[in-house]
Each structure stands twice: as C-alpha cells, then as structure tokens.
C-alpha cells in the first residue's frame, strides 16, 4: 500500500510534468495505471472546462448573429457554424496544427514588438483554440434553435408591458433561450469532454510524454499488450466525469426552471451525439 502512495507521489501530476520523468516500462502495476491515467484526466478537464467557459460567450454572440436580419452578420455566422459542425474535429485538429506550424518560427514583428508563435503549436494552446471554436459552433446552433423556439406569447407580453430593446433581450429573451437550450447544452458539454481525448491523437505531439488520460491508457495497452485493464480505467474516469457534469448542469437546470410548476420543468436527458 505504501508503494502505491509512492507511485501517486511520483506520477500523480506527471501529466503536468511534475514528478518522475520516466514512465513505468516494465512490471507495470495496477496502481501505476490508475495514477498515471488519472493525472492525464487533468488535461481532459483543463481542455473541457476552458473551451466550454470561453465557448459559452462566443456561442451566444454567434447565435445572435445567426438570428440577425442583416446578412453581414448572419452569413459569416452561418458559414462559421457550418464549417465547424460539418467537418470532423479530427481533421480540424490536423489542419490547425499544420497551419500553426507554418507560422514563422522567430515570431511575428508587430509595431516593433515580436509576437512569439511557438507556443501556439503546443497542445495546451493550439488544441484549446480548436476546441473553443468547435464547441462555440455546436453551442451556437443549440442556442439559435432555442432562440427560434422562444414562445411568441412571451415577446408579446413583454411588448404589452412596454419592455423593449436591450432590457427585453436581457430580461425575457435571453433567459428563456438559455432555459430552453439547457438540456441540449448539457449534452454538448458532456461530449465536448469526450472529444478532448482526440487531442493527442491528432497531430499535436505530447511534449515530454505529457498527455491526457487516453494517451496514457494507449501507452499502457501498448506496453502490456493488454487492453482489458487500461481502457476500462479511462472508461471509469470518464463515467465519473460525465456524472459530475450531469450533476452540475442539472443544478443549473433546476435553477433556470425554478419559477415553473414541477410538471412543466424539463428534465435532462442524455442523448449521445458523439464524435464531431
């Protein structure tokens, strides 16, 4: 048991580059697998949380742009959403990586300042940008759909009360949209976390073997030639993560719907949406 504690000490933060440099190669124990894969989960959580948090705002802007009457706003938003929803995330990762690699190594001169570019090719930045854009497109489509299904009566009631413009949007339209979109958005969040496992399999190199949960799982499967231990461990971690996301989003969902009588409150239903 104490040796397992040592393993946790050595490899608990290995995915961030803290602790033992060299990954276990021979006589791999179950404890080592659980610890290292768990430390890889830190990356999945990092990518998922940041992409979702930033994507939420951009998605709102995109949804509004898509609903706008002016074609100058609508067309670009539609094109953006189509490109990111219509192509595989896997290809988007590759394309982004190859494009970022082409940036000049020495940085870009900009008003006498030199902008460093090399960090963009690292997974923590490059892949995060792709995930951010991708989840923005998917969420924007969800938000736009919800905006289109805001009941007419709500808008008319607002009109009757003399609520118009920004305050109508902020107090009537947007909260209703969010409430209607929330179950689908929960799904999006879950599958964004799942999509983060693609990062280190798609061009972005795992610098100094700092990878995510699936990266370490496939490392172990390769080393032990036994897929029946490491993959179920990742699966277990992700089930826990999924349950946590459902709990958190379910709490928000209850808050968003707290003014409604019980029977009319929408319940979260998890539908698979998978690979993007």
């Amino acid at each position: 048991m104490s040796s397992c504690l040592e393993t946790v000490h050595d490899y608990g933060l290995r995915a961030l580059g803290i602790g033992e440099r060299i990954l276990p190669k021979t006589d791999i124990t179950l404890c080592e697998q659980v610890t290292l894969i768990g430390s890889g989960m830190l990356w999945n959580i990092y990518f998922g949380v940041l992409a979702l948090a930033a994507g939420f705002f951009f998605a709102n802007a995109l949804a509004m742009a898509k609903a706008a009457r002016s074609p100058w706003l609508r067309r670009p938003a539609e094109l953006f959403i189509f490109v990111f929803r219509g192509s595989p995330l896997f290809i988007q990762f590759f394309l982004a990586y190859e494009a970022l690699v082409l940036l000049p190594r020495s940085g870009i001169e900009f008003w006498g300042l030199t902008l460093e570019t090399s960090w963009l090719t690292r997974a923590w930045a490059g892949a995060l940008i792709v995930l951010f854009l991708n989840t923005s497109a998917y969420s924007a489509e969800i938000f736009h759909g919800a905006l289109m299904s805001v009941p007419r009566g709500d808008i008319e009631a607002a009109k009757a009360y003399g609520i118009t413009g920004w305050s109508r949007f902020r107090r009537i339209l947007w909260p209703t949209m969010l409430r209607l979109a929330w179950p689908a958005y929960t799904n999006e969040a879950i599958f964004l976390f799942h999509a983060t496992t693609l990062v280190f399999f798609s061009g972005f190199p795992a610098y100094r073997q700092k990878g995510d949960a699936l990266y370490y799982a496939s490392y172990f499967a390769e080393k032990t030639f036994n897929p029946f231990i490491s993959y179920p461990i990742v699966a277990g971690y992700f089930v826990v993560l999924t349950l946590a996301v459902i709990a958190l989003f379910g709490w928000v969902n209850r808050r968003l719907n707290r003014h409604l009588p019980g029977a009319r409150r929408p319940r979260l239903r998890i539908r698979p949406q998978i690979i993007r």
């Binding site: 021979t26 006589d27 791999i28 189509f82 490109v83 929803r85 219509g86 192509s87 595989p88 995330l89 896997f90 290809i91 988007q92 590759f94 394309l95 190859e98 494009a99 690699v101 082409l102 879950i190 976390f193 799942h194 999509a195 496992t197 693609l198 399999f201 699936l214 799982a217 496939s218 499967a221 080393k223 032990t224 030639f225 036994n226 897929p227 029946f228 993959y231 990742v234 699966a235 992700f238 089930v239 999924t242 349950l243 998890i270 539908r271 698979p272 949406q273 998978i274 690979i275 993007r276």
Partner: protein
Amino acid sequence: MTAGTCADPATLEGLAWLGCYLSTGKHMMFYASFGTVLALLAITAPLALALGFLGALASRARLLPLRIIGKTYTAMVRGVPDIVFFLFVPIALDQGLEYLRHRIKCPDWTEPVRRGADFVVCPAAKLPLSSTPQIWHEAYGFALAVAAFAVVFGAFAANVLAGAMNAVPRAQLETAEAYGMTQRQITRRILIPQMWTYALPGLGNLWMILIKATPLLFLLGVEDIVYWARELGSAKTSAYSFPHPDWRVWYFLALLLFYLGMTKLSEVLISRMTASLARGQATLGGEARRKAAGA
C-alpha cells in the same frame, strides 16, 4: 516537343508540373483511399443499423438478462468517449479471436497465453497466419476497424431506435393486443413499420456523425485519407522527383472541403427523404406537406 513529360518533372513548370504531380502513383493511392472511406461507410452503416436494431429490441425484451444486455449496450456510449472504444474493440477482438483459435487448434499448449507484457498464442492460431500474403493482413485490419465502427455506431443506433420504438403511440400497440395479436406479431407488424418515421431524424443525424467519424480509421492503422495526406503533404527534398515544401496544410484543407461536401450532400438527401416519409403521416410534417400540396 517543347514541354517536358511527366517522366522528367524537373523540366516542367506551373500547371503542367502540378498536373503531373497530382497524377503520380502515390496520389492515385491517395485518391483510392477515398474509396476506402466510402467502403467503410457502405459496410458499416447497414451493420450498425442491424446491431442497433438488435440492441433496441433487446432493451425492450421481457427476459431480464436479455434486457440487461440491451440496456448496457445502449448506455455504454453515453458516459465513455467513443474513441476509447475505437482503440479498445480492435485489440480486444483480435486477442479474443486468437485466444479462441489457440484453445481449439493447440489444446496441448500448456504455457499461459499472457506472460508478463506479452500475449503469446501458438503459431497456428495467429490471425491472419504469418504465411498469408500482405493483402490479407490489410483486409484483416480493415475488418477489425469495421467491427469497431459497427459496435460503437450500433450502440448509437440502438439509442435512436429504442427512442423511436417508445415514440410509437401506445394506442396502436394496445389496439393490436385487443385484436389478440401475440407480442411477436405486434412487434413485427405494428411496432417496426411505424417506428421508422420517428427514427429517421435521429438516423440521419447518426449518418452525418458516421461520416465525420471516418477519419478515425487513421487511428486504427488503416491507410486512409489522413494517412496519405500526411504522407504526401510532408516536405519533399530534391531527392524526390517532385520536391516541395511542407504542404500538409493544403492536403488537410482538401480533406476538410471533402467532408463539408459530404455533409452538404447528405443534408440535402436526408431532407428529401424526411419529406417523402412525412407524406400521409399524422404528424406536423405531414400536415405541412398536405397544406403545401393543396395550396
């Protein structure tokens, strides 16, 4: 002849060079790999649909063990990233098959199959046998990939179909019961014919997702379009007959456009199918269609 031929690309310039470059043997293999993707789609879609169908039926079965299997199958893809299954299923299947053959073909082999970090079966149990030609090794790899896709997408299809089966109005099934039909007859004659309209939007969605999942073939070691895009796009020195800098970004841009085209095409086809299935249905879509035709 003033213009050079493809045999001597160094003398070529501009479009002629590009034309020759894009028709090299390697590029032909790249184009053929698009066929691999389409083949995967053509084989996987019906397989996944069949598996999904069985899964959905099993999750409604009266028999408890069968129902548990069905429910587990439909639930497994909800919490766990599908890529885990894509990596897991081919190896697991490969080892499972080899182990079975090992037990059958070499019963007197006493040493354990798993030895430390190794998985050893007797030579006669290897799949495919080491003496078989290369083409069969590739076909076996492709078959494992198809199996992985079918299992994962079967689970997704099972979700869609189970939802569609639940969406068939209860009254329809109760009427059939009142007519004295057996459970099996109800399923065959009432439930299955009626569920398709409810299933179509979900299945259409699934088809789009399946298209977008095809680049994952690369992860399974199949020489697919991603493999060739990386291979052909990487910088070529003057040791090659067509030297060029790192062009991978252009190749991936081409792949992106290919997928966008596939998505657009599918969207158009699916919306047509939905329209024709909605004809004569007592749903909102059918009603809209009736009104449009009457006007």
